[in-house]
């Protein structure tokens, strides 16, 4: 196609006086996993729901799969070709996983095989269990399966792993990677740094309705991550004292000695100084993470619950 799967230009969304999305522009390319990373209330769901044609926009221009979301005909065509996992997914509570998937399948002209979906998602044993009796992780799996029931080209996953335990979260990541493997475009929102870093081909950091930065994880780290750090594991006071003579910014942390650096020359200086004194050290190089990039750009961290801190 060569055409962007999602194209957003100068999108603004107001709820009364509140500006939830404040003039953002970005594009999502076919076949990529694109992540919206930001804290609670940043405007992630609002943006996603506009793309899913579930909410009108205030101003700006948005096309999804080449169709205008503000257009009724466009909306119809978009809905046929997207898959949606809403934040806090729920299905009919007294229907089983299978019955729910069959319901969603019946909404489309050419649905995927529900039987196959159940197998792919390992739901065979739970297929006859009522939805309200499923664990959070299984509910979410049903939700992802439901998002794929129409063989969509573009899949929206709004906080797919929020509230799941780490193991289930990793399993869900595998599923999401699998989607990219099948050539689908994935639009993901999350407030987990690790999730964005692990999964996304490109990340847009969204803070208070604005995109603070956008790029591949590597680009973001390179541009905004700043210094890398040498960690002298259990270096102790001797190492700290030695390095202190050469570097102002050396720091001690639980017996480890941390030395941020910007050029390789600094590393040489440090190592020479230590060997002159006959100090043997174990060391590791640490690159900045997406978390540090985010902290730097937003001025705060995000807690596990997604709150700005």
């Amino acid at each position: 196609m060569g055409e962007s799967t999602v194209k957003v230009q100068r999108l603004v969304k107001r709820y009364g006086d509140l500006v939830a999305v404040n003039d953002i522009s970005f594009e999502v390319q076919p076949g990529e996993i694109f992540a919206f990373l930001g804290p609670n209330g940043a405007g992630k769901t609002t943006t996603v729901e506009i793309l899913e044609c579930l909410r009108p926009l205030t101003s700006g221009e948005v096309t999804v799969l080449g169709e205008n979301v503000a257009d009724a005909r466009g909306t119809e065509r978009i809905k046929k070709r997207i898959g949606v996992l809403p934040q806090d997914f729920n299905a009919l509570r007294r229907l089983t996983a299978r019955e729910n998937l069959e319901l969603f399948a019946a909404m489309y002209d050419n649905p995927a095989s529900v039987k196959e979906l159940i197998e792919v998602f390992g739901l065979q044993e739970k297929a006859k269990v009522r939805f309200d009796a499923l664990s959070g992780g299984l509910k979410q799996r049903v939700g992802v399966a439901a998002a794929l029931v129409n063989n969509p080209d573009l899949v929206f996953l709004d906080e797919p792993t929020t509230g799941l335990d780490p193991e289930v979260r990793r399993a869900t990541w595998e599923v999401i990677r699998g989607l990219r493997g099948k050539g689908k475009t994935v639009f993901l929102t999350t407030h987990y740094m690790e999730e964005a870093q692990e999964l996304a081909d490109r990340i847009a950091m969204i803070v208070k309705g604005k995109i603070a930065a956008i790029g591949t994880p590597g680009e973001l780290i390179k541009t905004y991550g700043g210094e890398r750090t040498i960690v002298f594991t259990k270096g102790g006071d001797a190492v700290f004292g030695t390095l202190r003579r050469y570097f102002d910014n050396v720091a001690a942390n639980n017996g480890d000695v941390l030395l941020p650096y910007t050029q390789t020359r600094d590393v040489e200086v440090a190592l020479n100084a230590l060997s002159e004194r006959g100090l043997k050290v174990e060391m590791a190089l640490r690159s900045p993470t997406i978390e540090e990039v985010f902290l730097k750009l937003a001025g705060f961290r995000i807690t596990a619950e997604g709150e700005a801190k």
Binding site: V84, F89, N90, L92, R93, R94, A106, M107, Y108
Partner: protein, 373 residues
């Protein structure tokens, strides 16, 4: 179409698996019917007592024609003329007052005026007077029998027809029991609560849990969603009516009928009350508040619409209030077709119900959120 079918199936199944739903929608009405049936059920199986005062006497003995009239009434077997009949000297008003009882209401009295026989034989108009209490649910039935009998005598005299044996097949003259009156009333009332309370809380729960929003992200259209919900309620309503009628027939040998009119009325009623349910759920976001509002509307409506007692015995301001309640028209209509065989009245009521149904379904569609703000 296939989407509507899928929604219909899913919603119905989801509902049938709800124990509290089943309880309030089926068991509860059935319990009511059993209670009402065993209190008031079979009290009238021997026919309805009618006091007659015959003032038409010639030289102290009743005229032949007045005796024929009384005999014809008795031969209907629906009406039992109380014997002995009241003497011409009895003051009817005093008699009624002294014979009233709390449960039975006032006695039904027919007064045959003096000159009845003479006028009838000369072909002159003559009026008999029939007095029954508004609280007496069977009063109008007995009235119908009297007028049937009077007509029969007219025909006979005018020679317009050969002698008409007054068969009790004439619809309004079927032998009715008190329980017959509760079947349409209770069915109507519980269909109303199913829609106004049940569907309201179900639909607002779908909205709160995000089911509605998730479905709106598929090609499903709003009208398909609404039609699926309403259809599901309509089928449940027919099921409820079937259960109530079967139970009344089996347990109390009730005579209610389930004819085409009644089925049509049930369908329109179900659509009407689902429309109200969808409207309330659309207007009120919070499920608790929505079902509270449903209750606040349903209970007064249930008691003021003639489900348990006739509207006519209520104070006049409540009567005018009853006239604006949809349930009044629905339960009156059901009664008209299910027990009274009064199809012209049934049709009028059905028209009101179907017009309201259209209005509320459209309103429900308008306030159901398919695209957020």
């Amino acid at each position: 179409m296939s989407r509507i079918t899928a929604i219909f199936k899913a919603i119905t199944l989801n509902w049938l698996r709800s124990r509290s739903g089943l309880f309030f929608s089926f068991l509860f009405p059935v319990m009511f019917l059993l209670v009402f049936g065993s209190i008031f059920g079979n009290t009238n199986s021997g026919g309805y007592t009618l006091y007659v005062q015959n003032k038409d006497a010639c030289l102290g003995s009743p005229t032949c024609l007045s005796l024929i009239f009384i005999g014809a009434l008795n031969s209907t077997k629906v009406v039992v003329v109380n014997s002995p009949i009241l003497a011409p000297s009895v003051n009817v008003t005093t008699f009624i007052q002294s014979h009233s009882s709390f449960f039975g209401g006032n006695p039904r009295v027919l007064v045959i005026p003096s000159g009845f026989g003479a006028n009838v034989s000369r072909g002159l108009p003559v009026n008999v007077t029939y007095i029954s209490s508004p609280a007496d649910q069977l009063g109008p039935v007995v009235g119908g029998v009297i007028s049937d009998v009077a007509n029969g005598i007219n025909f006979q005299l005018a020679g317009a027809r050969p002698v008409v044996g007054l068969s009790h097949e004439s619809s309004s003259a079927r032998a009715l029991k008190n329980v017959d009156f509760y079947v349409p009333g209770l069915t109507a009332a519980f269909m109303m609560t199913n829609g106004v309370i049940g569907l309201t809380s179900i639909a607002s729960e779908f909205r709160r849990s995000g089911v509605t929003k998730r479905l709106s992200a598929t090609p499903l259209r709003k009208y398909e969603w609404i039609v699926g919900n309403v259809l599901s309620q309509a089928v449940l309503a027919l099921l409820l009516a079937l259960v109530m009628i079967t139970l009344a027939k089996v347990a109390y040998q009730s005579n209610v009928t389930l004819d085409g009119y009644t089925i049509a009325a049930l369908v329109f009623g179900a659509i009407l009350f689902s429309g109200i349910g969808m409207t309330l759920a659309g207007l009120v976001k919070d499920p608790e508040a929505a079902s509270g509002l449903g209750n606040a509307i349903a209970f007064p409506m249930m008691f003021l619409s003639g489900t348990y007692w006739p509207v006519d015995i209520m104070p006049s301001f409540l009567q005018s209030f009853a006239r604006v309640l949809p349930l009044t028209y629905f339960s009156d209509g059901l009664r008209d077709s299910m027990i009274l065989g009064n199809y012209s009245a049934a049709l009028t009521n059905m028209l009101v119900v179907s017009a309201l149904a259209v209005i509320f379904v459209l309103l429900g569609a308008k306030v159901t959120v398919w695209k957020e703000k």
